[in-house]
């Protein structure tokens, strides 16, 4: 079974530029999560989707971050404009139906904002 796929793996941008990350969850997983992991800290939930609907986006900085999951499968997370403090690893995870406590994580995208 293929795991959660993310791209790109690494991205370097200048502050005020925009960036987008892509995630393809494990086939059949209806729940998708985006987490932000700053160096030296644990992951922090940004947004949770159930199919193509948002379940929780309370910690998403909505003035600059946006996410969508149009067809209930893959998802895109965008930052516009980026700030220095957005430098982090962005992790995508998914859960199978009926097993919401099991989360499978992708390899992450490491973003550096200069």
């Amino acid at each position: 079974e293929a795991g959660v796929a993310q791209s790109p793996r690494y991205k370097i941008i200048e502050k005020r530029q925009s960036v987008a990350f892509w995630c393809n969850p494990i086939s059949g997983h209806a729940t998708l999560y985006w987490y932000q992991q700053i160096l030296g800290q644990g992951p922090k939930l940004l947004i949770q989707f159930q199919n193509n609907g948002v379940v929780d986006d309370s910690q998403l900085p909505k003035d600059r971050f946006s996410a969508e999951r149009l067809k209930g499968v893959d998802s895109t997370l965008k930052i516009q404009p980026a700030k220095l403090e957005d430098s982090a690893v962005y992790l995508c995870a998914s859960s199978p139906p009926g097993a919401f406590y099991e989360q499978y994580f992708g390899p992450g995208t490491r973003l550096t904002v200069t």
């Binding site: 939930l45 406590y101 390899p107 992450g108």
Partner: protein, 112 residues
């Protein structure tokens, strides 16, 4: 905000020794999970313990949960160099859906 706090922040042991790391949390939980993260394999789920359980085993892993003290411990027995990684506890709140609240992690180094 992050829910769990792991202790110690860093731990260095030799192969064959046991490693114990602790996690404290603040609010009521549905379950608590432990994850391992290293550069090779990313973030991997290790074990889940529900709020009505006190102890759970999986291979060389032993997890305890004390809901009265809002704390958990992870014991890795007979450690190996391959156990070198960061270990995170993550809680699922009893009223907050299924999202995980992670602590800052314990960095474990196992030397041959």
């Amino acid at each position: 905000s992050q829910q769990g706090e792991e202790d110690p922040q860093a731990l260095s042991i030799q192969e064959g020794e046991n490693a114990t790391m602790n996690c404290s949390y603040k609010t009521s939980i549905n379950n608590l999970q432990w994850y391992r993260q290293n550069s090779g394999r990313g973030l991997v789920h290790l074990i889940l313990i529900r709020s009505n359980e006190r102890e759970k085993h999986s291979g060389r892993l032993r997890v305890t949960l004390d809901t009265s003290k809002k704390s958990s411990s992870l014991l890795i027995t007979a450690s190996r160099a391959a156990d070198t990684a960061s270990y995170f506890c993550a809680t699922v709140g009893s009223n907050s859906g299924y999202a995980l609240n992670f602590g800052k992690g314990t960095s474990l180094l196992v030397t041959p």
